[in-house]
Amino acid sequence: MHLYLPVALTSINVLIPVGLGLAVGLLSGLFGVGGGFLMTPLLIMFGIPSTVAAATDSNQIVAASTSGTYAHWRVGNVDFKMGLYLLVGGFAGGLVGVQAIKILNAMGNADFVIKMTYVLMLGGVGGYMLYESLTSMKKKQVAEEAPRVESKLVRLLASLPLQTRFEKSGVTHSLILPIFFGGGVGVLAAIMGVGGGFLMVPVMVYILRMPMHVVVGTSLFQILFTCIEVTFLQAYSNHSVDFTLAVLLLLGSTIGAQIGAVFGRKLKAEQLKIYLAIIVLAVTVKIVFELTLTPSLLLSLGGGH
């Protein structure tokens, strides 16, 4: 059955967005990522204009991350204190990001800058996560060597002012850290139409040294509020949120997030990190192919990247 989308001005088979929502929601519940870096390109592939795809994806991430956060909160896996500081940065970053879209669109090489940054970040994060997880699974002694390798970073972070204890995560950090990284994620969420979870999860694991099960719940909590802000701003400023499409997506994603949360508890932290790394690297490879292979169409609608 097809349904007409009033803002996207297109018609789509309802099974497509519901199925996409289910698949991406599953990843959301499993890994604590919003899934925007997967969903937005998939929606574009199925004929949704890029601006509507990015904005509507933010809207459906609100539903998926609400569902996922609720599931993780019930089992005590959300560090609200850490999440709130991440949010302070995230809100500021979101405002900066919406303005940055206008500036970047006015620049001639904005597309180049965004895509290269995307490839480098995804490739770097995915590659590091995969390497680190595989190494630590194979060699137990690496666990002892790792603190020595990262000790400079740990010392640097410990020297920052405004140190505070995050009880749920069992770590002590400067308040500057979650605000700074939350801000970076907020900028990305607005510019790329992604929640930023694929960056936030590694940051929380490797820099903030939070336990993996708390990382997933806290990441979803932070993504939830960032995407609420981005959804409202996109609807208000760009009129690009398609509510009908969002409903179809969230029908699948909210259920998928719950199933993901159940499966996530049955997997070990290292397994979760490896699977997430593989997905991030697969997306990187896809983007690299898109950049290097001659596209079938040399013209596209404005507004997207």
Binding site: A63, H239, L291, T292
Partner: protein, 262 residues
Amino acid sequence: MTRKTFATFAAVFIMLLVSLLNTDNALACLTARANHDHITIDFFYNGSEVSVRGISDPDVDLVVKITSPDGHQDLKEKGKVAGALWMNVGTLKFEDTPNLYMLQCTKKPEEILSASEMEKYCIGFPALEKHVGISPVESEADRSKWFGEFLKFKQSKNLYFAADGGFGPNPDKPDQHGYYMKFAWPYQAPPGDYLVTVYAVKDHKVVETATSKVTVEQVGAVKALANMAKNNAALYGILSVLSALGAGFGVGIVFGKGGGAH
């Protein structure tokens, strides 16, 4: 009245009569009617079908063209950066271009029409190419290349279409010389008014035209949502967020109650 004056009047009268009779014979009655002249877009809309039918002279060829009003479109241009990477490198402006252009002829347009007539009535993609303004382009070859890409882009959205054949007798007027043909109307065509023009062609010239109109309009909840998104953006944004929050909590509670999983 002198004999010379009478001869002159007679000659003029005969010429007028011949002229009128000739016109009557060739194209007395070209008509056009679109069967589906008001297409409504509701939630279950997935495109439609528009048939054009009418009466024409038996010895003419026909061209049916459906277009939206001319406008301008800005499209992102992809190019190679650093000799290897494909990405958006600029914006191309297309002026005097219809968003939708559909053409169906009884034979190939270049077989039945002269180049000047095709250009005059903007019939066929080569004529459309001359009609459309493209900027910035560096040369005629560059212009031609980007019109070709524009055509590919539009055809990928089912908004540009040209074909020949597919005409049949008018089922409404079986006793007269009528025509009937149909277009698959793409769901990608946005709401608005579209002009249907039927050209009768004889001796490589357009000898008569008839027009009709197709209106596409959003209705009901689709129209209400589209209007709210545009005119009450803040309320629309808040409702979108609240609905997503409600759905997320709702599913969370349902799964929570169901389950031993947590």
